[in-house]
């Protein structure tokens, strides 16, 4: 297992509207905007909102986070297809990202940026401002996550498109992976294209590769497991005394997940939950033994952060 330092920063609304929209943004709790350089002067000095110049053309483009429920159409499994940017975030540490996220997807995009620790410009429509404001308010309550990410799989990334999909399949199935330039002996498992122990077909089929990687790691060694849903992706940060579990419902804004069971490797007797849109959220059926900690989140609308400690 290895820890990497993650720069934690809140996503920011990218606005191509003028400062006349500032009162509405303030009302929605949006306190920071990124604007085209040509508009920056107009925004500077606007009460209660800080503005910075940003150029989406120079950012890494993301897709709108979502779920496609057409399980049998062009998907490798029966599970719904998750449109996640996890692999893009992990491949481009330190980059600035840009995402078009209309309506409720704006909240998902902001939460996804927080999940993967990306510096992200979120561009949305008028329907997306309220959910975005609510998600930003929630993220502010969490404070900065200074704990490093916890992963135990290294993927030697040749940065080809097919390797991007290989990373994607591992991430959406909640294998905690990070790209590496060479095998890291501190990790439980390293995967490099052409490795022995993988059938040739696995290098051409990212879905099959994910299954083989999972089998080689074994479920017992998975740092995080998610039960009861196919649409939630989780990541962990932590150190010897704490773990923070980040969970994003990619169907959020359309469907809540009614009950998600989480298993985290390690014995963590103290748990505190923060669940977006659910005040005073309580965990159910907590169980801690020498090997793992389990709990159920009764309702996951979009995003939840669970702090575990000794």
């Amino acid at each position: 297992m290895i820890a990497l330092v993650l720069a934690a920063m809140l996503p920011v609304l990218y606005s191509d509207a003028g400062p006349q929209t500032a009162p509405a943004l303030r009302e929605l709790g949006i306190r920071r905007v990124a604007v085209p350089a040509s508009s920056l002067k107009k925004w500077q000095g606007v009460d209660g909102i800080s503005a910075e110049a940003a150029d989406p053309e120079r950012a890494v483009k993301l897709i709108t986070p979502s779920v496609n429920y057409r399980a049998y159409d062009a998907t490798a499994t029966q599970a719904p297809w998750i449109n996640s940017n996890g692999w893009r975030y992990l491949r481009n540490p330190g980059a600035r990202f840009f995402v078009e996220a209309p309506g409720p997807a704006a909240a998902l995009a902001a939460a996804e940026a927080n999940l993967f620790g990306g510096d992200t410009l979120v561009h949305t429509d008028s329907a997306g401002l309220k959910p975005l404001g609510e998600m930003l308010a929630f993220l502010r309550t969490l404070g900065e996550d200074k704990l490093p990410p916890l992963v135990n799989i290294g993927f030697v990334d040749d940065r080809t498109p097919v390797s991007g999909e290989r990373l994607n399949m591992m991430i959406v199935r909640n294998l905690l992976v990070r790209p590496v330039v060479a095998p890291d002996p501190h990790l439980d498992l390293n995967v490099a294209v052409g490795d022995k122990g993988y059938p040739e077909a696995a290098w051409h089929n990212p879905d099959l590769l994910e299954h083989v990687v999972r089998g080689n790691l074994t479920d017992d060694k998975r740092l995080l497991r998610v039960f009861g849903t196919d649409v939630v992706i989780g990541r962990l940060t932590g150190d010897a005394d704490h773990v923070r579990v980040h969970l994003l419902n990619y169907a959020g804004g359309r469907r809540s997940v009614q009950g998600v069971r989480i298993r985290v490797l390690g014995s963590w007797p103290h748990q505190t939950a923060a669940v977006a849109g659910v005040p005073d959220a309580q965990l159910m059926d907590c169980a801690v033994d020498a090997v793992a900690t389990e709990f159920t989140i009764p309702e996951l609308k979009t995003y939840a952060v669970i702090d575990l400690s000794r």
Partner: protein, 377 residues
Amino acid sequence: MVRAMDRREFLQLVSASPLLATETQASLPVYHVVTPFAPEPGAGMPGAYRGQVARVHAASCIDEKTDAVDREVVRRMLSSGMRALTGEKSERDAWARFIAPKDVVGIKVNSSGAPNMMSMPELVAGIVENVIGVGVPPENIWIYERMGDQMRMIHYDRFVPAKVNVWTAEHSRSSILGYEPRVYVDVDFFGEDDTRSCLVRLVSEKLTKIINVPNMKEHQAAGVTGCLKNISYGNFSNVARSHRLQKTNTYSFIGTLAAVEPVRSRTVLNIMDGLRGVWHAGPFSMDRRFRFYPKQIMFGSDPVAMDRLLIDVIEAKRRAEGAPSIFDRSPEHLQSAYSRDPMKNAFIREPGHVQYAAGLGLGEYDIARIKVEAIEL
């Protein structure tokens, strides 16, 4: 995937029956059963009446044209069947063999074909009357099923006293909140990420006894869906994952789930509703053509013996209709989706699940050892 146990937890590694062929054992999934519940000695399946079944037939119990059920005839069928099974002279004494006044009783119905096919409300109401007759308060009786959307179409509440509970595990589809996270079977069938099937929470937290009320149905995956299927797939979450394309793991999964504690110990009585049945394209009943009317109810504590008889009922009907046996595995009879052609099926059926369950100690499969008391009303 073996997880650590504490001293309250029993890990049951389910092995194949010694009756099974070696090649079949080799291809079985690896099941890890996790439960804090210990078996209750002498309780539950196969029960005191291993290898015994009472079968009551009444030509007037249901109208084939209107599907109207004669509630009084069903009452008499219940009375005859329970007395025949137990040898008791009075109904109350017969029911008292299984249920005590202090029990909290679950009636596990089957609603997977609703509104066209389900455990008939008139029969369920008759069971409730008898359970109350033993001295169980109505509020301690729970008619239950997994899927709320199916149950809501039946309206059992209109047939039973007001305080009897009607409950479903999934009030909204796919919610896991109605399931017990401490009791589950962990198995990876096809590489699915969620490998757990958890027990209905009502069973672990409230019920002390379960009366199982399946229908007489062919099943596209399991071959038949009777006592074992209803008490297994009907009591656990996340079970549809056991089928993919033409392959189904019902052969070993049904018995494995049925044997999990406390399901095995608390299921004391099976009453199979054969007023009407399904001989093809089950468990649903979207096509009336595949419905039939056995006009019978079977009673027993041994689910294997009853399902063994069910196989014969379904096979006889399919033979009469010119349809292939449920044991047929020929590729030419496979079709990738639901079929209205009785010659075709979406899965390779696994009626061998009944014999597999016998190997787990759930009952008697050998037809020569099953004693049937047949009653005609």
